[in-house]
Amino acid sequence: MLALFVARRILVSIGILFGVTIITFSLLHATAGSLVPGLDLSTTLPEDVARIRHNLGLDLPLHIQYLNWIGGVVHGDFGRSLIDGGPVLEHITSRLPDTLQLTVTAMVLGIVISLPLGAIGAIRRGSVLDQLLTLLSVLGVSVPSFWLGLLMIMLFSVTFNSWGLPWLPSSGNQNAIGGGSIEDRIEHLIMPATCLAFTYIAIWSRFTRSSMLEVLNQDYIRTARAKGMRESRVILVHAFRNAVFPLITLVGLELPGLVSGAVIVEIVFSWPGIGRLLLERAFQDDYTMVLGLTTFAAILVLAGNLFADILYAILDPRVRLS
Protein backbone atom coordinates (compact mmCIF):
# COMPACT_ATOMS: atom_id res chain seq x y z
CA MET A 1 0.00 0.00 0.00
CA LEU A 2 2.76 2.38 0.95
CA ALA A 3 4.78 1.37 -2.12
CA LEU A 4 1.81 2.11 -4.34
CA PHE A 5 1.31 5.49 -2.70
CA VAL A 6 4.97 6.37 -3.12
CA ALA A 7 5.02 5.21 -6.75
CA ARG A 8 1.96 7.31 -7.56
CA ARG A 9 3.39 10.39 -5.90
CA ILE A 10 6.68 9.97 -7.76
CA LEU A 11 4.88 9.69 -11.09
CA VAL A 12 2.84 12.81 -10.39
CA SER A 13 6.00 14.71 -9.45
CA ILE A 14 7.72 13.68 -12.67
CA GLY A 15 4.70 14.87 -14.63
CA ILE A 16 4.78 18.22 -12.85
CA LEU A 17 8.50 18.51 -13.53
CA PHE A 18 7.85 18.11 -17.25
CA GLY A 19 5.23 20.84 -16.98
CA VAL A 20 7.78 23.09 -15.28
CA THR A 21 10.37 22.55 -17.99
CA ILE A 22 7.85 23.16 -20.76
CA ILE A 23 6.70 26.42 -19.18
CA THR A 24 10.18 27.75 -18.44
CA PHE A 25 11.67 26.59 -21.72
CA SER A 26 8.97 28.07 -23.89
CA LEU A 27 8.93 31.28 -21.87
CA LEU A 28 12.65 31.82 -22.30
CA HIS A 29 12.88 30.74 -25.90
CA ALA A 30 9.70 32.39 -27.10
CA THR A 31 10.84 35.73 -25.71
CA ALA A 32 14.57 35.50 -26.22
CA GLY A 33 14.16 33.68 -29.51
CA SER A 34 17.40 32.78 -31.16
CA LEU A 35 19.36 35.48 -29.41
CA VAL A 36 22.98 34.68 -28.65
CA PRO A 37 24.23 36.83 -25.76
CA GLY A 38 27.21 38.98 -26.57
CA LEU A 39 26.75 38.66 -30.31
CA ASP A 40 26.68 42.09 -31.90
CA LEU A 41 24.53 41.62 -34.98
CA SER A 42 25.62 44.91 -36.53
CA THR A 43 29.28 43.94 -36.71
CA THR A 44 29.02 40.22 -37.35
CA LEU A 45 28.68 38.71 -40.80
CA PRO A 46 25.27 37.08 -41.37
CA GLU A 47 26.92 33.75 -42.27
CA ASP A 48 28.93 33.86 -39.04
CA VAL A 49 25.76 34.51 -37.07
CA ALA A 50 24.10 31.59 -38.83
CA ARG A 51 27.11 29.36 -38.10
CA ILE A 52 27.23 30.29 -34.40
CA ARG A 53 23.51 29.72 -34.03
CA HIS A 54 23.81 26.41 -35.85
CA ASN A 55 26.62 25.29 -33.55
CA LEU A 56 24.48 26.10 -30.52
CA GLY A 57 21.50 24.31 -32.04
CA LEU A 58 19.44 27.51 -32.00
CA ASP A 59 18.36 27.18 -35.64
CA LEU A 60 16.35 24.02 -35.01
CA PRO A 61 12.57 24.10 -34.52
CA LEU A 62 11.58 24.91 -30.94
CA HIS A 63 10.16 21.48 -30.12
CA ILE A 64 13.33 19.76 -31.39
CA GLN A 65 15.41 22.11 -29.25
CA TYR A 66 13.25 21.24 -26.27
CA LEU A 67 13.51 17.49 -26.88
CA ASN A 68 17.29 17.74 -27.23
CA TRP A 69 17.52 19.71 -24.02
CA ILE A 70 15.12 17.57 -21.98
CA GLY A 71 16.83 14.43 -23.28
CA GLY A 72 20.03 15.76 -21.77
CA VAL A 73 18.35 16.73 -18.49
CA VAL A 74 17.01 13.20 -18.07
CA HIS A 75 20.61 12.02 -18.29
CA GLY A 76 21.80 14.66 -15.86
CA ASP A 77 23.13 17.00 -18.56
CA PHE A 78 21.65 20.51 -18.24
CA GLY A 79 23.47 21.82 -21.29
CA ARG A 80 26.25 24.38 -21.47
CA SER A 81 26.32 28.00 -20.43
CA LEU A 82 25.93 30.43 -23.31
CA ILE A 83 28.44 32.76 -21.68
CA ASP A 84 31.42 30.61 -20.78
CA GLY A 85 30.58 27.25 -22.35
CA GLY A 86 30.94 25.41 -19.04
CA PRO A 87 28.45 22.65 -18.15
CA VAL A 88 25.47 24.17 -16.34
CA LEU A 89 25.34 21.41 -13.75
CA GLU A 90 28.98 21.96 -12.84
CA HIS A 91 28.29 25.65 -12.22
CA ILE A 92 25.35 24.74 -10.02
CA THR A 93 27.16 22.10 -7.99
CA SER A 94 30.16 24.37 -7.48
CA ARG A 95 27.93 27.10 -6.00
CA LEU A 96 25.55 24.86 -4.10
CA PRO A 97 27.78 24.24 -1.04
CA ASP A 98 28.07 27.98 -0.43
CA THR A 99 24.31 28.47 -0.55
CA LEU A 100 23.76 25.47 1.72
CA GLN A 101 26.34 26.78 4.17
CA LEU A 102 24.35 30.00 4.45
CA THR A 103 20.83 28.55 4.53
CA VAL A 104 21.60 25.67 6.89
CA THR A 105 23.29 28.04 9.33
CA ALA A 106 20.29 30.39 9.15
CA MET A 107 17.80 27.58 9.71
CA VAL A 108 19.74 26.17 12.65
CA LEU A 109 19.96 29.67 14.13
CA GLY A 110 16.24 30.08 13.48
CA ILE A 111 15.31 26.85 15.28
CA VAL A 112 17.67 27.38 18.20
CA ILE A 113 16.36 30.90 18.84
CA SER A 114 12.68 30.55 17.95
CA LEU A 115 11.92 27.47 20.09
CA PRO A 116 12.76 29.03 23.46
CA LEU A 117 11.27 32.39 22.42
CA GLY A 118 7.99 30.78 21.40
CA ALA A 119 7.84 28.62 24.51
CA ILE A 120 8.52 31.57 26.80
CA GLY A 121 5.81 33.57 25.04
CA ALA A 122 3.30 30.80 25.66
CA ILE A 123 4.25 30.21 29.29
CA ARG A 124 4.17 33.92 30.14
CA ARG A 125 1.14 34.53 27.98
CA GLY A 126 -0.04 38.15 27.99
CA SER A 127 3.01 39.45 29.84
CA VAL A 128 5.05 42.40 28.62
CA LEU A 129 7.68 39.96 27.43
CA ASP A 130 5.10 38.04 25.42
CA GLN A 131 3.81 41.21 23.80
CA LEU A 132 7.35 42.26 22.99
CA LEU A 133 8.00 38.91 21.34
CA THR A 134 4.76 39.22 19.39
CA LEU A 135 5.79 42.66 18.17
CA LEU A 136 9.20 41.28 17.21
CA SER A 137 7.68 38.51 15.15
CA VAL A 138 5.29 40.84 13.33
CA LEU A 139 8.28 43.07 12.57
CA GLY A 140 10.25 40.04 11.47
CA VAL A 141 7.83 39.08 8.71
CA SER A 142 7.39 42.69 7.60
CA VAL A 143 10.98 43.88 7.39
CA PRO A 144 12.50 43.64 3.92
CA SER A 145 15.53 41.36 4.20
CA PHE A 146 17.50 43.45 1.73
CA TRP A 147 17.02 46.56 3.85
CA LEU A 148 17.88 44.70 7.04
CA GLY A 149 21.03 43.51 5.29
CA LEU A 150 21.96 47.03 4.24
CA LEU A 151 21.39 48.34 7.77
CA MET A 152 23.59 45.58 9.17
CA ILE A 153 26.34 46.38 6.69
CA MET A 154 26.01 50.07 7.48
CA LEU A 155 26.30 49.46 11.22
CA PHE A 156 28.63 46.50 11.61
CA SER A 157 30.90 47.10 8.63
CA VAL A 158 30.93 50.81 7.88
CA THR A 159 30.23 52.48 11.22
CA PHE A 160 32.12 50.00 13.40
CA ASN A 161 35.08 50.31 11.08
CA SER A 162 35.06 54.08 11.28
CA TRP A 163 34.81 53.96 15.08
CA GLY A 164 37.82 51.67 15.22
CA LEU A 165 35.79 48.79 16.62
CA PRO A 166 36.12 45.20 15.39
CA TRP A 167 33.95 45.07 12.28
CA LEU A 168 32.40 42.41 10.09
CA PRO A 169 33.14 41.94 6.39
CA SER A 170 30.24 43.07 4.22
CA SER A 171 30.54 40.82 1.20
CA GLY A 172 31.66 37.44 -0.07
CA ASN A 173 32.20 34.28 1.92
CA GLN A 174 35.94 34.70 2.51
CA ASN A 175 38.68 37.24 2.06
CA ALA A 176 39.99 37.41 -1.48
CA ILE A 177 43.56 37.63 -0.22
CA GLY A 178 44.73 35.16 2.41
CA GLY A 179 41.18 34.17 3.28
CA GLY A 180 39.57 30.78 3.66
CA SER A 181 40.47 29.93 7.24
CA ILE A 182 37.63 28.82 9.52
CA GLU A 183 37.61 32.11 11.43
CA ASP A 184 37.58 34.10 8.23
CA ARG A 185 34.65 32.11 6.86
CA ILE A 186 32.67 32.40 10.09
CA GLU A 187 33.28 36.16 10.14
CA HIS A 188 31.79 36.39 6.68
CA LEU A 189 28.89 34.13 7.56
CA ILE A 190 27.64 35.98 10.64
CA MET A 191 25.74 38.86 9.01
CA PRO A 192 24.07 37.08 6.06
CA ALA A 193 23.05 34.13 8.22
CA THR A 194 21.58 36.37 10.93
CA CYS A 195 19.76 38.44 8.33
CA LEU A 196 18.25 35.32 6.80
CA ALA A 197 17.46 33.74 10.18
CA PHE A 198 15.38 36.76 11.19
CA THR A 199 12.37 35.71 9.12
CA TYR A 200 12.61 32.12 10.27
CA ILE A 201 12.70 33.25 13.88
CA ALA A 202 9.66 35.45 13.33
CA ILE A 203 7.55 32.66 11.79
CA TRP A 204 8.70 29.71 13.83
CA SER A 205 8.52 31.44 17.22
CA ARG A 206 4.88 32.35 16.51
CA PHE A 207 4.16 28.80 15.57
CA THR A 208 5.91 27.37 18.63
CA ARG A 209 3.95 29.76 20.81
CA SER A 210 0.53 28.75 19.52
CA SER A 211 1.46 25.09 19.46
CA MET A 212 2.71 25.34 23.04
CA LEU A 213 -0.48 27.15 24.13
CA GLU A 214 -2.54 24.35 22.68
CA VAL A 215 -0.52 21.67 24.43
CA LEU A 216 -0.61 23.51 27.76
CA ASN A 217 -4.42 23.21 27.69
CA GLN A 218 -4.35 19.44 27.30
CA ASP A 219 -5.61 17.11 29.97
CA TYR A 220 -2.32 15.33 30.38
CA ILE A 221 -0.65 18.58 31.38
CA ARG A 222 -3.32 19.08 34.04
CA THR A 223 -2.75 15.51 35.17
CA ALA A 224 0.99 16.05 35.39
CA ARG A 225 0.45 19.18 37.47
CA ALA A 226 -2.22 17.47 39.59
CA LYS A 227 0.09 14.69 40.59
CA GLY A 228 2.48 17.30 41.95
CA MET A 229 5.12 17.35 39.27
CA ARG A 230 7.46 20.31 39.31
CA GLU A 231 6.41 23.01 36.83
CA SER A 232 9.79 23.03 35.08
CA ARG A 233 9.46 19.32 34.41
CA VAL A 234 5.88 19.69 33.21
CA ILE A 235 6.97 22.34 30.76
CA LEU A 236 10.16 20.76 29.51
CA VAL A 237 9.26 17.08 29.42
CA HIS A 238 5.51 17.01 28.89
CA ALA A 239 4.59 20.21 27.09
CA PHE A 240 7.61 21.30 25.10
CA ARG A 241 8.30 17.93 23.51
CA ASN A 242 4.75 17.62 22.25
CA ALA A 243 4.61 21.23 21.12
CA VAL A 244 7.70 20.83 18.98
CA PHE A 245 6.33 17.98 16.85
CA PRO A 246 4.13 20.13 14.58
CA LEU A 247 7.08 22.42 14.03
CA ILE A 248 9.01 19.60 12.42
CA THR A 249 6.60 19.60 9.50
CA LEU A 250 6.82 23.39 9.25
CA VAL A 251 10.60 23.21 9.06
CA GLY A 252 10.20 20.37 6.56
CA LEU A 253 8.15 22.66 4.35
CA GLU A 254 11.09 25.04 4.30
CA LEU A 255 13.43 22.41 2.83
CA PRO A 256 13.27 23.86 -0.70
CA GLY A 257 14.24 27.16 0.93
CA LEU A 258 17.64 25.60 1.55
CA VAL A 259 18.38 26.37 -2.08
CA SER A 260 16.00 29.15 -3.09
CA GLY A 261 15.40 30.97 0.20
CA ALA A 262 18.56 33.01 0.23
CA VAL A 263 18.48 34.65 -3.20
CA ILE A 264 17.92 38.21 -1.97
CA VAL A 265 20.29 37.89 1.00
CA GLU A 266 22.98 36.43 -1.28
CA ILE A 267 22.62 39.44 -3.53
CA VAL A 268 22.84 41.97 -0.68
CA PHE A 269 25.94 40.36 0.81
CA SER A 270 27.52 39.31 -2.52
CA TRP A 271 27.46 35.74 -1.25
CA PRO A 272 28.70 33.53 -4.10
CA GLY A 273 25.75 31.12 -4.07
CA ILE A 274 22.99 29.87 -6.35
CA GLY A 275 20.90 33.05 -6.08
CA ARG A 276 23.67 35.39 -7.14
CA LEU A 277 24.56 33.04 -9.97
CA LEU A 278 20.95 33.18 -11.15
CA LEU A 279 20.81 36.98 -11.09
CA GLU A 280 24.20 37.44 -12.76
CA ARG A 281 23.31 35.06 -15.55
CA ALA A 282 19.82 36.49 -15.95
CA PHE A 283 21.38 39.91 -16.56
CA GLN A 284 23.78 38.40 -19.10
CA ASP A 285 21.01 36.61 -21.03
CA ASP A 286 22.61 33.24 -20.30
CA TYR A 287 19.36 31.38 -20.93
CA THR A 288 20.62 27.81 -20.62
CA MET A 289 21.99 28.71 -17.23
CA VAL A 290 18.75 30.37 -16.04
CA LEU A 291 16.78 27.43 -17.39
CA GLY A 292 19.08 24.94 -15.67
CA LEU A 293 18.94 26.76 -12.34
CA THR A 294 15.15 27.05 -12.41
CA THR A 295 14.71 23.39 -13.32
CA PHE A 296 17.16 22.41 -10.62
CA ALA A 297 15.28 24.48 -8.04
CA ALA A 298 11.96 22.94 -9.13
CA ILE A 299 13.41 19.43 -8.80
CA LEU A 300 14.40 20.24 -5.22
CA VAL A 301 10.96 21.67 -4.40
CA LEU A 302 9.25 18.57 -5.77
CA ALA A 303 11.71 16.27 -4.02
CA GLY A 304 11.06 18.16 -0.78
CA ASN A 305 7.29 17.86 -1.15
CA LEU A 306 7.60 14.19 -2.03
CA PHE A 307 9.77 13.59 1.00
CA ALA A 308 7.26 15.35 3.26
CA ASP A 309 4.33 13.40 1.75
CA ILE A 310 6.06 10.06 2.18
CA LEU A 311 7.04 10.91 5.72
CA TYR A 312 3.41 11.80 6.46
CA ALA A 313 2.25 8.54 4.93
CA ILE A 314 4.62 6.57 7.10
CA LEU A 315 3.68 8.48 10.24
CA ASP A 316 -0.06 8.69 9.57
CA PRO A 317 -1.64 5.63 7.94
CA ARG A 318 -4.84 7.57 7.17
CA VAL A 319 -3.04 9.56 4.46
CA ARG A 320 -2.02 6.64 2.29
CA LEU A 321 -5.38 4.92 2.55
CA SER A 322 -7.35 7.86 1.20
Binding site: L139, M154, L279, F283
Partner: protein, 311 residues
Protein backbone atom coordinates in the same frame (compact mmCIF):
# COMPACT_ATOMS: atom_id res chain seq x y z
CA UNK B 1 -36.24 57.63 13.49
CA UNK B 2 -38.50 55.68 15.74
CA UNK B 3 -38.73 52.93 13.14
CA UNK B 4 -35.29 51.68 14.13
CA UNK B 5 -36.12 51.27 17.77
CA UNK B 6 -39.53 49.76 17.04
CA UNK B 7 -40.03 46.17 18.12
CA UNK B 8 -39.27 43.50 15.56
CA UNK B 9 -42.90 42.47 15.34
CA UNK B 10 -43.84 45.92 14.00
CA UNK B 11 -41.44 45.51 11.08
CA UNK B 12 -43.27 45.72 7.76
CA UNK B 13 -43.54 42.39 6.01
CA UNK B 14 -40.76 41.60 3.57
CA UNK B 15 -38.24 44.03 4.98
CA UNK B 16 -35.05 42.22 5.95
CA UNK B 17 -33.76 42.37 9.49
CA UNK B 18 -30.83 44.77 9.44
CA UNK B 19 -27.53 44.25 11.13
CA UNK B 20 -27.49 40.49 11.32
CA UNK B 21 -25.68 39.58 8.12
CA UNK B 22 -22.30 37.94 7.88
CA UNK B 23 -20.57 41.02 6.49
CA UNK B 24 -22.10 43.34 9.06
CA UNK B 25 -20.98 41.07 11.86
CA UNK B 26 -17.52 40.87 10.32
CA UNK B 27 -17.22 44.63 10.05
CA UNK B 28 -18.44 45.00 13.61
CA UNK B 29 -15.78 42.55 14.77
CA UNK B 30 -13.16 44.42 12.74
CA UNK B 31 -14.17 47.74 14.29
CA UNK B 32 -13.71 46.30 17.74
CA UNK B 33 -10.05 45.56 16.97
CA UNK B 34 -8.18 48.80 17.78
CA UNK B 35 -4.91 47.62 16.22
CA UNK B 36 -6.64 46.69 13.00
CA UNK B 37 -8.53 49.98 12.79
CA UNK B 38 -5.39 52.02 13.53
CA UNK B 39 -3.34 50.36 10.86
CA UNK B 40 -6.20 50.33 8.38
CA UNK B 41 -6.09 54.11 8.79
CA UNK B 42 -2.35 54.02 8.10
CA UNK B 43 -2.87 52.01 4.90
CA UNK B 44 -5.66 54.36 3.85
CA UNK B 45 -3.49 57.38 4.57
CA UNK B 46 -0.60 55.94 2.54
CA UNK B 47 -2.97 55.16 -0.32
CA UNK B 48 -4.36 58.70 -0.29
CA UNK B 49 -0.84 60.11 -0.17
CA UNK B 50 0.09 57.97 -3.14
CA UNK B 51 -2.90 59.21 -5.08
CA UNK B 52 -2.07 62.78 -4.15
CA UNK B 53 1.60 62.57 -5.20
CA UNK B 54 1.26 65.04 -8.10
CA UNK B 55 -0.51 67.48 -5.78
CA UNK B 56 2.25 67.13 -3.19
CA UNK B 57 4.80 67.82 -5.90
CA UNK B 58 3.00 70.88 -7.07
CA UNK B 59 1.75 72.51 -3.88
CA UNK B 60 3.88 71.20 -1.03
CA UNK B 61 7.43 70.52 -2.15
CA UNK B 62 7.21 72.50 -5.41
CA UNK B 63 9.57 70.03 -7.04
CA UNK B 64 9.46 67.10 -9.44
CA UNK B 65 10.62 63.68 -8.22
CA UNK B 66 13.22 63.51 -10.98
CA UNK B 67 14.34 67.13 -10.91
CA UNK B 68 18.08 67.36 -10.27
CA UNK B 69 19.96 70.09 -8.49
CA UNK B 70 23.66 69.39 -8.44
CA UNK B 71 24.33 72.25 -6.05
CA UNK B 72 22.69 70.43 -3.14
CA UNK B 73 23.77 66.77 -3.52
CA UNK B 74 23.57 64.60 -0.39
CA UNK B 75 21.72 67.29 1.49
CA UNK B 76 21.09 66.10 5.07
CA UNK B 77 17.64 65.94 6.70
CA UNK B 78 16.12 69.38 7.11
CA UNK B 79 18.07 71.02 4.29
CA UNK B 80 16.31 74.21 3.29
CA UNK B 81 13.54 73.31 0.87
CA UNK B 82 14.34 69.61 1.22
CA UNK B 83 12.71 68.25 4.37
CA UNK B 84 14.22 64.76 4.06
CA UNK B 85 17.39 65.81 2.29
CA UNK B 86 18.56 65.14 -1.24
CA UNK B 87 20.23 62.24 -3.05
CA UNK B 88 23.37 61.93 -5.15
CA UNK B 89 21.87 64.04 -7.94
CA UNK B 90 20.28 66.58 -5.66
CA UNK B 91 16.78 65.16 -6.11
CA UNK B 92 14.35 65.79 -3.27
CA UNK B 93 14.03 62.61 -1.18
CA UNK B 94 10.65 63.50 0.34
CA UNK B 95 9.05 64.00 -3.08
CA UNK B 96 10.64 60.78 -4.35
CA UNK B 97 9.36 58.79 -1.37
CA UNK B 98 5.82 60.05 -1.94
CA UNK B 99 6.02 59.12 -5.61
CA UNK B 100 7.56 55.81 -4.58
CA UNK B 101 4.49 54.98 -2.51
CA UNK B 102 2.47 55.24 -5.71
CA UNK B 103 4.37 52.32 -7.19
CA UNK B 104 4.47 50.23 -4.02
CA UNK B 105 0.80 50.60 -3.11
CA UNK B 106 -0.40 50.73 -6.70
CA UNK B 107 1.39 47.50 -7.55
CA UNK B 108 0.25 46.03 -4.24
CA UNK B 109 -3.47 46.65 -4.76
CA UNK B 110 -3.46 45.92 -8.49
CA UNK B 111 -1.53 42.67 -8.08
CA UNK B 112 -3.75 41.45 -5.27
CA UNK B 113 -6.84 42.21 -7.35
CA UNK B 114 -5.40 40.42 -10.38
CA UNK B 115 -4.26 37.32 -8.58
CA UNK B 116 -7.51 37.01 -6.67
CA UNK B 117 -9.35 37.21 -9.99
CA UNK B 118 -7.16 34.59 -11.67
CA UNK B 119 -6.82 32.31 -8.65
CA UNK B 120 -10.47 32.73 -7.65
CA UNK B 121 -11.77 31.90 -11.12
CA UNK B 122 -9.48 28.90 -11.52
CA UNK B 123 -10.33 27.64 -8.04
CA UNK B 124 -14.09 28.04 -8.58
CA UNK B 125 -14.07 26.36 -11.99
CA UNK B 126 -11.70 23.57 -10.97
CA UNK B 127 -13.60 22.94 -7.76
CA UNK B 128 -17.10 23.06 -9.18
CA UNK B 129 -16.69 21.25 -12.48
CA UNK B 130 -13.86 18.93 -11.51
CA UNK B 131 -13.27 16.29 -14.13
CA UNK B 132 -10.58 16.61 -16.77
CA UNK B 133 -10.62 20.42 -16.82
CA UNK B 134 -10.39 20.67 -13.06
CA UNK B 135 -7.63 18.12 -12.96
CA UNK B 136 -5.64 19.91 -15.66
CA UNK B 137 -6.07 23.28 -13.95
CA UNK B 138 -4.87 21.92 -10.63
CA UNK B 139 -1.86 20.29 -12.31
CA UNK B 140 -1.08 23.73 -13.77
CA UNK B 141 -1.27 25.11 -10.23
CA UNK B 142 1.07 22.36 -9.00
CA UNK B 143 3.47 23.23 -11.80
CA UNK B 144 3.54 26.94 -10.99
CA UNK B 145 3.90 26.29 -7.29
CA UNK B 146 6.82 23.93 -7.95
CA UNK B 147 9.01 26.79 -9.13
CA UNK B 148 10.27 28.97 -6.26
CA UNK B 149 8.53 32.34 -6.74
CA UNK B 150 11.72 34.37 -6.74
CA UNK B 151 13.24 32.11 -9.44
CA UNK B 152 10.14 32.42 -11.59
CA UNK B 153 10.07 36.20 -11.12
CA UNK B 154 13.73 36.59 -12.02
CA UNK B 155 13.24 34.36 -15.05
CA UNK B 156 10.24 36.29 -16.33
CA UNK B 157 11.46 39.80 -15.56
CA UNK B 158 14.88 39.12 -17.07
CA UNK B 159 13.37 38.47 -20.51
CA UNK B 160 11.31 41.68 -20.50
CA UNK B 161 10.17 43.46 -22.61
CA UNK B 162 7.66 40.93 -23.90
CA UNK B 163 5.19 41.92 -26.59
CA UNK B 164 2.01 39.88 -26.76
CA UNK B 165 -0.20 41.48 -29.36
CA UNK B 166 -1.16 44.93 -28.10
CA UNK B 167 0.20 44.13 -24.64
CA UNK B 168 3.68 45.48 -23.94
CA UNK B 169 5.12 44.11 -20.74
CA UNK B 170 8.12 46.12 -19.68
CA UNK B 171 9.75 47.37 -16.53
CA UNK B 172 6.88 49.65 -15.52
CA UNK B 173 4.55 49.36 -12.55
CA UNK B 174 1.53 47.87 -14.34
CA UNK B 175 3.68 45.28 -16.13
CA UNK B 176 5.41 44.25 -12.92
CA UNK B 177 1.96 43.88 -11.33
CA UNK B 178 0.89 41.56 -14.11
CA UNK B 179 4.09 39.55 -13.84
CA UNK B 180 3.80 39.14 -10.06
CA UNK B 181 0.12 38.25 -10.38
CA UNK B 182 0.61 35.54 -13.01
CA UNK B 183 3.38 33.96 -10.95
CA UNK B 184 1.57 33.94 -7.63
CA UNK B 185 -2.10 32.99 -8.06
CA UNK B 186 -1.50 29.28 -7.43
CA UNK B 187 -2.01 29.42 -3.68
CA UNK B 188 -5.31 31.29 -4.01
CA UNK B 189 -6.59 28.77 -6.54
CA UNK B 190 -5.82 25.89 -4.18
CA UNK B 191 -7.53 27.53 -1.22
CA UNK B 192 -10.64 28.49 -3.18
CA UNK B 193 -10.91 25.04 -4.76
CA UNK B 194 -10.69 23.36 -1.37
CA UNK B 195 -13.41 25.66 -0.05
CA UNK B 196 -15.63 25.02 -3.08
CA UNK B 197 -15.22 21.27 -2.69
CA UNK B 198 -16.43 21.45 0.89
CA UNK B 199 -19.37 23.74 0.10
CA UNK B 200 -20.38 21.87 -3.05
CA UNK B 201 -21.48 18.80 -1.13
CA UNK B 202 -23.77 20.74 1.24
CA UNK B 203 -27.51 20.40 1.02
CA UNK B 204 -28.33 23.90 -0.17
CA UNK B 205 -26.28 23.33 -3.32
CA UNK B 206 -28.05 20.04 -3.95
CA UNK B 207 -31.34 21.84 -3.39
CA UNK B 208 -30.39 24.58 -5.83
CA UNK B 209 -29.42 21.97 -8.37
CA UNK B 210 -32.67 20.10 -7.87
CA UNK B 211 -34.73 23.13 -8.84
CA UNK B 212 -32.78 23.29 -12.10
CA UNK B 213 -30.25 26.05 -11.57
CA UNK B 214 -27.48 26.17 -14.17
CA UNK B 215 -23.82 25.71 -13.30
CA UNK B 216 -23.01 29.37 -13.87
CA UNK B 217 -25.87 30.43 -11.63
CA UNK B 218 -24.78 28.11 -8.84
CA UNK B 219 -21.21 29.41 -9.08
CA UNK B 220 -22.11 33.08 -9.17
CA UNK B 221 -25.08 33.15 -6.81
CA UNK B 222 -24.28 30.41 -4.33
CA UNK B 223 -20.62 29.41 -4.38
CA UNK B 224 -19.00 32.81 -4.89
CA UNK B 225 -20.69 34.50 -1.90
CA UNK B 226 -19.62 31.58 0.26
CA UNK B 227 -15.98 31.54 -0.83
CA UNK B 228 -15.74 35.34 -0.79
CA UNK B 229 -14.54 35.42 2.83
CA UNK B 230 -11.64 33.09 1.97
CA UNK B 231 -10.79 35.22 -1.06
CA UNK B 232 -10.89 38.47 0.87
CA UNK B 233 -8.87 37.12 3.77
CA UNK B 234 -6.23 35.73 1.39
CA UNK B 235 -6.09 39.02 -0.45
CA UNK B 236 -5.65 41.13 2.64
CA UNK B 237 -2.97 38.81 3.97
CA UNK B 238 -1.23 38.94 0.59
CA UNK B 239 -0.96 42.73 0.24
CA UNK B 240 2.08 43.12 2.50
CA UNK B 241 3.80 40.19 0.85
CA UNK B 242 3.29 41.67 -2.62
CA UNK B 243 4.66 45.05 -1.53
CA UNK B 244 7.75 43.25 -0.22
CA UNK B 245 8.21 41.21 -3.40
CA UNK B 246 7.82 44.25 -5.64
CA UNK B 247 10.35 46.23 -3.61
CA UNK B 248 12.76 43.29 -3.73
CA UNK B 249 12.44 43.10 -7.51
CA UNK B 250 13.15 46.83 -7.83
CA UNK B 251 16.08 46.39 -5.49
CA UNK B 252 17.74 43.70 -7.59
CA UNK B 253 17.18 45.79 -10.71
CA UNK B 254 14.50 43.65 -12.37
CA UNK B 255 11.39 45.50 -11.26
CA UNK B 256 10.32 49.06 -11.94
CA UNK B 257 13.37 50.90 -13.20
CA UNK B 258 14.65 54.46 -12.86
CA UNK B 259 13.84 57.21 -13.59
CA UNK B 260 10.53 56.18 -11.96
CA UNK B 261 11.32 56.51 -8.25
CA UNK B 262 10.33 53.49 -6.15
CA UNK B 263 11.29 52.56 -2.61
CA UNK B 264 13.09 49.50 -3.93
CA UNK B 265 15.21 51.19 -6.58
CA UNK B 266 15.99 54.08 -4.23
CA UNK B 267 17.42 51.50 -1.84
CA UNK B 268 19.38 49.90 -4.66
CA UNK B 269 20.84 53.30 -5.47
CA UNK B 270 21.68 54.07 -1.86
CA UNK B 271 24.08 51.11 -1.62
CA UNK B 272 26.77 53.10 -3.40
CA UNK B 273 26.51 56.06 -1.04
CA UNK B 274 26.85 54.59 2.45
CA UNK B 275 29.62 57.01 3.28
CA UNK B 276 27.78 60.07 2.03
CA UNK B 277 24.32 59.69 3.46
CA UNK B 278 22.74 57.19 5.81
CA UNK B 279 19.23 58.60 5.41
CA UNK B 280 19.23 57.50 1.77
CA UNK B 281 19.41 53.93 3.11
CA UNK B 282 17.16 54.23 6.14
CA UNK B 283 14.23 56.22 4.73
CA UNK B 284 13.06 54.08 1.76
CA UNK B 285 13.42 50.94 3.86
CA UNK B 286 11.46 52.52 6.66
CA UNK B 287 8.69 53.32 4.19
CA UNK B 288 8.59 49.71 2.99
CA UNK B 289 8.58 48.46 6.58
CA UNK B 290 5.71 50.75 7.61
CA UNK B 291 3.61 49.89 4.57
CA UNK B 292 4.18 46.14 4.87
CA UNK B 293 3.73 46.15 8.64
CA UNK B 294 0.46 48.08 8.34
CA UNK B 295 -0.78 45.80 5.57
CA UNK B 296 0.13 42.68 7.57
CA UNK B 297 -1.57 43.87 10.73
CA UNK B 298 -4.70 44.83 8.79
CA UNK B 299 -4.55 41.45 7.07
CA UNK B 300 -4.44 39.66 10.40
CA UNK B 301 -7.32 41.76 11.71
CA UNK B 302 -9.39 41.01 8.61
CA UNK B 303 -8.68 37.31 9.04
CA UNK B 304 -9.72 37.40 12.69
CA UNK B 305 -12.91 39.24 11.77
CA UNK B 306 -13.95 37.35 8.65
CA UNK B 307 -12.42 33.90 8.61
CA UNK B 308 -15.39 31.56 9.01
CA UNK B 309 -13.17 28.79 10.34
CA UNK B 310 -12.26 30.85 13.38
CA UNK B 311 -15.84 31.39 14.42
Amino acid sequence: MTAQSAPVAARPLGEPIRGQGYWRQGFARFRRNPLGVTFATVVLFLALLALAAPLVSRYVTHIDPTQQDLTVIFGPLGTKGHLLGTDELGRDVFTRLIWGSRVSLGVGFLTVTLYLLIGGTVGLVAGFYGGIVGELLMRLVDTILAIPVIFLLILVTSVLPIHIGPLHIEHDAVSISIVIAITSWGGVARLVRAEVLSIKSREFITATRSIGATGTRIIVRHLLPNVLPVIIVTGSLGLGQIILVEAALDFIGLGVRPPTPTWGNMLFNSQSYFYHSTSLVTLPGLCILVAVLAANIVGNAVRDAFDPRLR
